[in-house]
């Protein structure tokens, strides 16, 4: 194998596929990036067996030559060292050449790295996926869907299915749901399907996979193809393939959890609520329970309090823009509400309470594409 390549392009591809590589893998060849040179271009692959990422650098783009292939071939090089090295090379191009067995020489200007490679024949093959059921959405929408749900997945290993995000398509509408059983985030979006009959309901993608995907797709309205099989999902964009394993098991029936009535309804400015709860948590952080108490008071105001006996007490007042229904006293995990407020892009939100002991729902006031559900905390 021997080729010369533009450094910037190569660095970006190396960074992309590195996102799939875990330093804790027990399979030595997976600590490396597979580099494969053919006369069409160079393909890089990284994988931790849950996620696999393939990035292709074509020989040329728009008549600009990116790669000069002198000899086809492949090699696996330690990802951690390699990613650092290519970033710091002195020239705009670099040459990679497998010299002897798996020994690889990387040259850029007056810098020469001789690296011990691994046998590419040992590298696992990527899954082969039939592209029957494809749907599409703009990349920036996909990034939003991930950002607005992934924060709510469970980080505990006790119920592995809750570490994933549930995706379902029905009637051209994708619904993404994440919950750790104390809070739930749900987001709808219209997607493009190649068949009106495309529908599925029990696809659970590891939250970590989607978070990594989100880091490597750019924030444009270019469409990305998505293909779901029994145990894999593939995201396919120009010169990039992103595979993730799906989680096994049944996702809880979250629809039944969402109350469809309200006893106390308030409308608030997001930023004032956010700031008040952030201050409310300043003293409670030490105790790590993050509980804040909310009480309706006169003049259509909410009083937010939090007490940490050794440290002190904080009291905040927040004006509501709208208020209807019963008086209320409720306690909940303020940190969970903050997480949700940070992904709601609307300036105003509504909260519907159904009593002190029941879950409550927060939504943007101006749109219906998103919903956040929170369990109250019993404080006595």
């Amino acid at each position: 194998m021997k080729f010369t390549i533009q450094r910037d392009q190569f660095v970006q591809s190396v960074q992309h596929v590195s996102k799939a590589i875990s330093s804790r893998t027990t399979i030595p060849v997976l600590t490396g990036i597979k580099i494969e040179a053919s006369y069409d271009g160079v393909t890089l692959t990284g994988s931790d067996s849950d996620i696999s990422i393939e990035s292709f650098i074509p020989k040329e783009i728009d008549d600009q030559e990116l790669v000069t292939i002198e000899q086809e071939g492949s090699i696996v090089l330690n990802a951690k060292f390699f990613a650092e090295i290519v970033k710091k090379l002195p020239e705009d191009t670099l040459e990679i050449m497998v010299t002897d067995q798996f020994l690889t020489r990387l040259t850029s200007g007056d810098s020469v790295f001789n690296l011990n490679g691994l046998d590419p024949a040992e590298y696992p093959r990527l899954p082969e996926i039939e592209e029957d059921n494809v749907f599409k959405m703009p990349k920036d929408l996909l990034k939003s869907l991930i950002r607005q749900t992934a924060f709510a997945v469970s980080t505990a290993e006790t119920r592995p299915i809750l570490t994933g995000i549930h995706w379902a398509i029905d009637d051209g509408i994708l619904t993404c749901t994440a919950t750790d059983s104390h809070r739930l985030a749900m987001r709808h979006a219209k997607v493009e399907t190649n068949s009106e009959e495309l529908a599925f309901s029990n696809v659970v993608i590891p939250g970590k996979s989607l978070s990594e995907l989100s880091k490597i797709i750019d924030d444009t309205d270019e469409l990305i193809d998505i293909i779901v099989t029994d145990n894999q999902i593939l995201f396919k964009s120009t010169n990039l393939l992103f595979f993730s394993r799906l989680l096994d098991g049944n996702y809880p029936a979250t629809k039944n959890m969402i109350p469809n009535h309200s006893k106390t309804s308030v409308k608030l400015e997001s930023k004032y609520l956010l700031a008040a709860i952030e201050r409310g948590l300043l003293l409670s952080r030490e105790g790590k329970n993050n509980v804040v108490n909310v009480k309706t008071i006169e003049n259509k105001e909410l009083e937010i309090t939090s007490v940490t006996p050794e440290v002190g007490k904080v009291t905040e007042k927040v004006h509501t823009l709208d208020y209807s229904g019963e008086e209320l006293r409720i306690s909940f995990n303020g940190k969970n509400l903050i997480d949700a407020l940070k992904v709601i892009e609307s300036t105003e939100i509504t909260i519907d309470f159904t009593g002190a002991m029941s879950p409550f729902v927060m939504k943007p006031a101006d749109r219906d594409h998103m919903l956040h559900l929170f369990s109250p905390v019993r404080t006595y």
Copy 2:
């Protein structure tokens, strides 16, 4: 105690004095910030018994009222919580009032914090320092002196004296020296003294103290007063006092360590040498020994190599701007050289070697105010 104060001013003072406060102190009152209100203004104090910082906010500056004092008094409030709270308050002003015993109420708009304070009578007094021997220098020069020496102090507790920076004044010239016994950084500067006889030679200031000081003084040419006593040093700027304990013990006689001849002398562009050594260390990082090998080769070039058997080998060539003397092969800790190169502001540097087994000296090529000394590493 009761006063109202401008939040921005107060936040900055709280941040300054917080730099002295350690969460690991065993003296409870030192986890707090002492706040003292008098009719002149508000004084904040933080201390970890090594460093003490006092920040004063006067009643008014340039006819702008900063503080409205209603009642004099003092209190000690937990620094960690307090610094977070004042940063996040909603309004431009805040009111602080000691209500009952040490209970303190902090109010800003619709936010009210009731905090448990500590008895200010338990707070230690700051040292009293006679201001006989004062010298002065611009703040930005002081910051440079610290930045260009503090990195070289020892972080090991085995020889405590080496965790400090040695300061000596002779003939109006301040010499700052730091060494961890493998490398040494020295910097001279002219200072203003109020007496021609001002001279001292065994003042050793903890590196940590100077690093903290550097964070709170601004990068201007305003003068700062410096007063040295037997066991304390005081830095005195407008509305700010910074005290540090001095280290006990004798600092090594570093002057004798510096070779005054040269067997091989090279002149190089700093940035190329820096980049080449950084790449040289990319593979050796795993081993943590950071050793690079330098060899003079033909065409007035240096060859820099580093080998990590499991990973590979890197070879770099660096052109010299000037080269004289014997051929040379030497090995040294590349990380130490990088640290020094990063604080040398000149684009060109000279290195004088005195053989493979002797310490060598690096200096800016255009100025004589700074010197870095490095021990070689034996590699066989």
